[in-house]
C-alpha cells in the first residue's frame, strides 16, 4: 500500500467515523435513559435521508435546509414514541420487548418508504457532488466534508448540552442510577422522553448528512444497524464518549482494511470487534458498571 493511498484512506476513515460517532451516540443515549436497544434508529436515519432527498427533489433547494423541519419533527416523534409506546411495555420484559417493538417500527418505516417512494435507489443530485479540495495530497470530497462538519458540530453540541446544562445533569443522573435520580427529585420519565427525542434528532442530522453523498434505498438501514450496534457494545453501552471513540477507531479501521481486503471483508471488522469485546470485556472498553448486565 502506498503512502498516499494510506493517507487518503485515513482521511476517508475519519470522515466516516464522524458520522458513525454521531449516529451511535443517539443509539447509546436511548439505551442509557431507557435500557432500550433501538433497532429503528437507522431506519429513522434512512427516513431522514429520504426526506432530505425528497425536499431537494421538490424544491430544488439544498438538502441541508430540510434539517430545519426534520430535526424538530424527529425530536417530537422520539418523545412521542417513548411516551406512547415504550412506556406501555411491562418493566419486567422491557429490554427484550422493546427490541421487538422497535424492530417492528423499523420494518414499518422500511415498508412505508418503499410504498411511498418505491424501492428504486435514490441519490441527491448536487452541483458540487463531484467537487473536492486537496488536503496534504489527499482529496476530500466537499460533500463528505460538509457531512463530517455537520456530524461533529451536532456531537459537540450534544456533549455540551449533557455536560453543562441542568437538563444534561438530570439526564446523566438518570442514566447512572434511575432510582437515585428519582429520589433527588428528577422527573426521570420526562427526562427519559426528552433523551429519546434527542436520540432521534441525531438520526435526523445523520440522515441528512448521509443523503449528501450516498445512494439510499428502503432496506439500506440494515447496513447501518450492525456497525452501529457493534460500536455501542465496544464503546460500552450507555457511554457517549466511549461510543464516539469506538466509532472513530472502527471507522478508520474499516477504511484502512478496505484497501487490503475489499469492502465486504472490511465490514466484518465491526463484528470481529463485537465478539472480541464480549469475550474479553463484556462491559465494553470504555463503559462503566451499567453495560455489564445487559
Amino acid at each position: 500500500m502506498s503512502g498516499s493511498l494510506l493517507f487518503q484512506s485515513l482521511v476517508l476513515g475519519v470522515l466516516l467515523g464522524g458520522l458513525y460517532a454521531l449516529l451511535a451516540a443517539g443509539l447509546t443515549l436511548y439505551f442509557g435513559v431507557m435500557r432500550v436497544v433501538m433497532i429503528a434508529h437507522s431506519a429513522f436515519l434512512i427516513l431522514a435521508a429520504y426526506l432530505a432527498w425528497w425536499f431537494n427533489e421538490r424544491t430544488g433547494l439544498d438538502p441541508l435546509l430540510s434539517l430545519v423541519v426534520t430535526v424538530p419533527l424527529f425530536f417530537l416523534v422520539g418523545v412521542g414514541m417513548q411516551r406512547l409506546l415504550i412506556t406501555r411495555l411491562r418493566p419486567a420484559t422491557l429490554t427484550m420487548m422493546s427490541v421487538l417493538l422497535t424492530f417492528a417500527i423499523a420494518l414499518f418505516i422500511e415498508g412505508m418508504i418503499g410504498f411511498v417512494w418505491s424501492g428504486t435507489q435514490r441519490r441527491v443530485q448536487l452541483p458540487y457532488s463531484g467537487s473536492n479540495i486537496e488536503f496534504f495530497g489527499a482529496n476530500i470530497a466537499v460533500v463528505k466534508l460538509v457531512a463530517f462538519v455537520l456530524a461533529a458540530a451536532s456531537l459537540g453540541a450534544l456533549y455540551v448540552l449533557l455536560k453543562k446544562s441542568r437538563f444534561g445533569q438530570a439526564l446523566r443522573a438518570t442514566i447512572q442510577h434511575r432510582e437515585a435520580a428519582q429520589l433527588v427529585g428528577i422527573r426521570t420519565d420526562r427526562v427519559a422522553a426528552l433523551g429519546f427525542g434527542l436520540g432521534l434528532a441525531t438520526a435526523a442530522v445523520g440522515g441528512t448528512a448521509l443523503a449528501l453523498d450516498a445512494t439510499i434505498y428502503p432496506s439500506l438501514h440494515w447496513h447501518w444497524v450492525g456497525p452501529l450496534m457493534a460500536i455501542i457494545v465496544v464503546g460500552g453501552l450507555g457511554s457517549i464518549p466511549g461510543t464516539a471513540i469506538a466509532a472513530m477507531v472502527l471507522g478508520i479501521g474499516q477504511s484502512l482494511l478496505q484497501v487490503e481486503l475489499g469492502t465486504t471483508w472490511a465490514q466484518t471488522l465491526f463484528y470481529v470487534a463485537l465478539f472480541a469485546t464480549l469475550m474479553l470485556r463484556p462491559q465494553g472498553f470504555f463503559g462503566g458498571r451499567l453495560a455489564q448486565r445487559f
Partner: protein, 376 residues
C-alpha cells in the same frame, strides 16, 4: 425473563415458577380426562388435515406455498427451543437457517456426499459453529444478546457474499436436486412430508424437554435468571444446550429448504426478516406452548403466501408484518393461545371474578398454566 432492573428494585410481581423438580400432577390428570379426550381428537384431526394437504391442494403452486409454510413452522418451532424455554429472544436465527442451507449445499458440491447425509452433516456443522458463538452471546443478557444475534446474521451475510470461491458469492449456490427424476409437483409433495416429519420430531423433542428437569431449569431461567442461579441451576450450561438444540433444528430446517429449493442466495438465506418472522410466529402463537409456534406459522405464513399471491410482492407486506408484530408485542406478548384460553375461562361457567388478582392467585394460575403446558 431476565431484566435490567431485577437487581436494582424489588421484583414487580411474583410471576415465577417453582425451582426445578418433579411435579406431582396425578390428581389434576384425572380431572382433566375430558379435556384430554378433546385434545386428542383435536390432535388427530389436525394431523389428518396437515397430512392430507398435498392431496387437497388444487395446483402445484399452492402445494409449494404449503411447503414454504411447513418450513416456517419448522423454523418457528426450532426458534422456540431458545425463545420459549429461556426467554432469550434471538432475532438472528436466520443465521442458523442459512448456515444449514449452505453447509448442505457445500457438502454435496465439494465432498459429493449423498444429499441426506450432507443434510445431517450440515446439522453437525451448525452445532460446531454455534458453540463458540453461543458462549460469546450468552456471556451477556438481554440487550447484548439480541445485538449479538443480529450481528451473527449480518456477519454471515458478509462472509457468504465475500468468500466467492467457497460460497459462490452474490451469485449464490445451486444445490443439486436429491430426487432428479421427480416432476416438480411430486418434488413439492415429497418435501412437504419431509418437513412435516422434521416438525414432528421437533415437537416430540420439545415435549420431552418440557417434562424434564432440564426443561424446568430452562423455564426457571426464563422467569428469573438470578434466582435460578442462586438455587443451583447451572444456568450457563443449560442456556448453551438450549441454544445448540435450537440452532441444530433451525439448521436442519435450512438444510431441508436448500434441498427443496435448490438456489441459495446470501441475501435471502441470511435475512434478518426471516429471523423476525420466526419471532413473530412464535410470539403470536404463544412461546410457552407446544403448538404455539406452529399455530403462529400457519397464521403468519399462510397470510404471507396469500398476500404474495393476491398482491404480488409489494412493500405493504412489510408494513403488515410490522403492524402485526407491534400489536403482538404491545397487547399479547404471551400469544393468542393463552389469551384465548383466558378468554374462554373468563366467560366460562366455573369462573367467578378475577377482577382483583392477588399475588397468591396469580401464583396459582401460573402453576395451573405450567401444569397444563406440561400436560400437552
Amino acid at each position: 425473563m431476565p431484566n435490567a432492573s431485577d437487581t436494582e428494585r424489588p421484583p414487580p410481581s411474583p410471576t415465577r415458577t417453582a425451582a426445578p423438580g418433579p411435579r406431582d400432577v396425578k390428581g389434576t390428570r384425572q380431572a382433566l380426562t375430558v379435556a384430554r379426550a378433546v385434545k386428542l381428537v383435536a390432535f388427530v384431526a389436525g394431523a389428518v388435515l396437515i397430512l392430507s394437504f398435498p392431496n387437497m391442494a388444487p395446483n402445484p403452486y399452492i402445494l409449494s406455498a404449503g411447503v414454504v409454510v411447513a418450513s416456517y413452522a419448522c423454523t418457528a418451532t426450532a426458534w422456540n427451543f431458545m425463545g420459549g424455554f429461556t426467554g432469550y429472544i434471538s432475532l438472528g436465527h436466520a443465521a442458523f437457517f442459512g448456515l444449514g442451507a449452505y453447509a448442505t449445499g457445500l457438502l454435496i458440491r465439494d465432498l459429493s456426499w449423498p444429499p441426506f447425509v450432507a443434510w445431517l452433516g450440515a446439522g453437525a456443522v451448525v452445532v460446531l459453529i454455534t458453540i463458540p458463538v453461543g458462549i460469546a452471546a450468552l456471556r451477556v443478557r438481554g440487550a447484548s444478546f439480541v445485538i449479538v444475534s443480529i450481528a451473527f446474521v449480518l456477519i454471515l451475510l458478509l462472509v457468504s457474499q465475500a468468500w466467492k470461491d467457497f460460497t459462490g458469492g452474490s451469485n449464490g449456490l445451486v444445490v443439486p436436486r436429491p430426487f432428479p427424476d421427480l416432476l416438480r409437483p411430486e418434488h413439492h409433495r415429497v418435501f412437504f412430508y419431509l418437513f412435516v416429519a422434521l416438525l414432528a420430531v421437533m415437537l416430540l423433542v420439545w415435549w420431552v424437554i418440557d417434562r424434564s428437569r432440564f426443561g424446568a431449569g430452562l423455564k426457571a431461567v426464563r422467569e428469573d435468571e438470578d434466582k435460578a442461579q442462586a438455587l443451583g441451576v447451572p444456568t450457563r450450561d443449560y442456556k448453551l444446550v438450549a441454544y445448540l438444540v435450537s440452532a441444530l433444528f433451525t439448521g436442519l430446517s435450512g438444510g431441508m429448504y436448500a434441498l427443496w429449493f435448490g438456489d441459495l442466495d446470501p441475501i435471502f438465506q441470511f435475512s434478518i426478516l426471516l429471523g423476525a418472522y420466526m419471532v413473530l410466529m412464535a410470539l403470536l402463537g404463544g412461546v410457552r406452548h407446544l403448538y404455539g409456534p406452529l399455530l403462529g406459522a400457519l397464521i403468519v405464513g399462510g397470510a404471507l403466501e396469500y398476500f404474495k399471491l393476491e398482491y404480488g410482492d409489494t412493500q405493504l407486506h412489510l408494513v403488515a408484518t410490522a403492524v402485526l408484530l407491534g400489536v403482538v408485542v404491545l397487547f399479547t406478548p404471551n400469544g393468542i393461545i393463552p389469551a384465548a384460553t383466558d378468554l374462554v375461562k373468563r366467560f366460562g361457567p366455573q369462573d367467578s371474578s378475577i377482577r382483583e388478582m392477588t399475588a397468591a392467585e396469580l401464583l396459582e394460575r401460573n402453576e395451573n398454566e405450567a401444569r397444563r403446558a406440561a400436560d400437552e
